[in-house]
C-alpha cells in the first residue's frame, strides 16, 4: 500500500502503522524527557525543576458548528485536555487557522469568540497565531491547529498504570461522537444530542491534587476503547471494565443502537480516563465529582497483571475490548 488512505487518519491500527513506518523514522525526536517516541498526549521537556509540556492537534471537524460546541471551542478543549492529560497546567496556546476563501466572516468571529470563552474557563491564553486562506478548490472547510504549552511538576504518562489501580472515567461516554455522527449523517432525531466538548483542566486538577493519579489519557479519536488499549499496552497491564458501570446517557445509547455504533469507540471531547491508586480512588472520585465537568464520574474498572482490555458484560460474559480499526460508520447489520 503506497498511498495514504482515510483509514490511516482514523486513529486505529492503520494509523499506528502509518506513524510507525513514517514518523517513527525521525531521529531528532526528543528534547529530554518525554518525546515523540512516547506517542503520549504530549511531550514533556525538563526545565529547571519543572517540565514544559508541549502538544498539538489539528481540528478538521465537520460540521464546524454542532450542538454543544464548535470548532473553536473544540480546538482549545483538545489542546487544553492533552496538556491536562500530561498533568500540566495549560499556560499558552497557539492557533493556526486555515480558511477556505468565501468563508463567512461572521462564522469566523463566532469561532474566535468560542476560542476566547474556552480559554477563559481554564485561565489559559492564546499568545500567537497564524492565518492562511486557501482557494475554495483547494480546501472545503476551515481547519484549526492548536498547539499549547503547560507546566507540570511531574508529567503524568499514559503508561503509568499499575496492577491494583482503579480506572475512573470523568463522565458519560460517547456524547461527542454519537452526536456528531447523527448530526452529520442528517439522521433527524426529535431531541438533540449534545457534544461534551469542554476544557477539563479544572476537573483534572482536582484529581491531581489528591495525589493518587498514575496515568491519564483523553478518549478522543478511537474513544474509550482505544484509550484503554493504549494505556494497558503501554503500561504492560490488563484492564478489566464492568459493562454495568459504564456511564452512557440514555439518549446516546438509543442513538448508538439505531446507528449500530458502539459508544465506546467514538470520540469524547471533554472526558478523561484516569488511573488512580486504589487507596486514593474514593477521594479522587469525590474530588472529580465536585467539579463542573466531573459530575458523572465513575469507577469503571480495575487494573491487574496481564495484558489486553477485557469487559465483564451484563450477562457475566467476558470479551476483549478492541481498539477500533477505523472511524465508526453507521451500520444496519
Amino acid at each position: 500500500m503506497d498511498k495514504v488512505s482515510l483509514i490511516h487518519g482514523a486513529g486505529g491500527e492503520m494509523m499506528q502503522s502509518l506513524i510507525g513506518s513514517v514518523f517513527a523514522n525521525i531521529k531528532n525526536n526528543n528534547a529530554g524527557g518525554v518525546g515523540l517516541e512516547a506517542l503520549d498526549d504530549g511531550a514533556a521537556i525538563p526545565f529547571g525543576d519543572k517540565y514544559i509540556v508541549l502538544t498539538t492537534d489539528s481540528h478538521v471537524i465537520k460540521p464546524i458548528f454542532f450542538p454543544g460546541g464548535d470548532i473553536g471551542r473544540l480546538s482549545i478543549s483538545g489542546t487544553v485536555n492533552d496538556l491536562a492529560m500530561m498533568g500540566a497546567r495549560p499556560v499558552a496556546l497557539t492557533n493556526g487557522v486555515i480558511i477556505p476563501e468565501g468563508f463567512s466572516m461572521d462564522d469566523l468571529k463566532k469561532i474566535v469568540e468560542s476560542v476566547d470563552e474556552a480559554l477563559g474557563e481554564v485561565g489559559a491564553a492564546l499568545v500567537t497565531g497564524d492565518t492562511k486562506v486557501l482557494p475554495k478548490e483547494a480546501l472545503d472547510s476551515i481547519l484549526i491547529n492548536t498547539a499549547g504549552i503547560g507546566i507540570a511538576d511531574t508529567p503524568i504518562r499514559d503508561s503509568g498504570l499499575n496492577p491494583g489501580d482503579v480506572i475512573i472515567v470523568t463522565g458519560t461516554i460517547g456524547d461527542h461522537g454519537i452526536s456528531i455522527i447523527s448530526h452529520r449523517e442528517g439522521f433527524k432525531f426529535g431531541t438533540e444530542l449534545r457534544s461534551d466538548c469542554a476544557p477539563i483542566w479544572n476537573t483534572v486538577k482536582a484529581a491531581l491534587d489528591v495525589g493518587g493519579v498514575t496515568a491519564m489519557k483523553d478518549p478522543t479519536r478511537g474513544g474509550v476503547a482505544n484509550v484503554l488499549n493504549e494505556m494497558a499496552s503501554k503500561s504492560h497491564v490488563k484492564i478489566v471494565i464492568e459493562e454495568e458501570a459504564l456511564p452512557i446517557r440514555q439518549d446516546v445509547k438509543a442513538a448508538a443502537d439505531m446507528l449500530g455504533i458502539d459508544p465506546m469507540e467514538v470520540a469524547n471531547e471533554g472526558k478523561a480516563v484516569i488511573g488512580v491508586r486504589a487507596d486514593k480512588a474514593d477521594e479522587t472520585l469525590a474530588a472529580i465529582k465536585n467539579t463542573k465537568y466531573g459530575k458523572d464520574a465513575v469507577i469503571i474498572g480495575t487494573v491487574t497483571e496481564g495484558k489486553g482490555v477485557i469487559m465483564k458484560t451484563k450477562i457475566g460474559g467476558q470479551r476483549f475490548i478492541e481498539p477500533p480499526l477505523g472511524d465508526p460508520v453507521p451500520r444496519v447489520c
Binding site: F189, G190, K253, A254, M258, C333
Partner: protein, 75 residues
C-alpha cells in the same frame, strides 16, 4: 442486514409514524405492518417498522427465563 431496534409508535400519519426510541424520536415507515396502532411496540429496521412486538409473548419468554434461573437455584 438485520439490526432492528424496538420502538413505540406515538403518532400515525399516512404510511409513516413518529416512533419513540427510548427518548429519541424519529419518523419511521409503517407500510409493512398489517394494522399499526398508536402505542404499538414495533421492530424498526432501516427506517421501516417490520413487525409488531407481541407483548404477551415477550412476557412469557421472560417468565420462562426467570423460571430457568429459579429452577437452578432450587437444584
Amino acid at each position: 442486514m438485520c439490526l432492528a431496534v424496538v420502538a413505540q409508535l406515538k403518532e400515525i400519519k399516512e404510511n409513516t409514524a413518529v416512533a419513540d426510541f427510548g427518548g429519541l424520536t424519529q419518523e419511521v415507515r409503517i407500510d409493512l405492518l398489517e394494522n399499526p396502532k398508536v402505542d404499538d411496540w414495533v421492530l424498526v429496521h432501516t427506517g421501516f417498522a417490520i413487525q409488531q412486538i407481541d407483548e404477551k409473548e415477550a412476557l412469557e419468554t421472560l417468565r420462562l427465563l426467570e423460571e430457568i434461573a429459579k429452577m437452578d437455584e432450587e437444584q
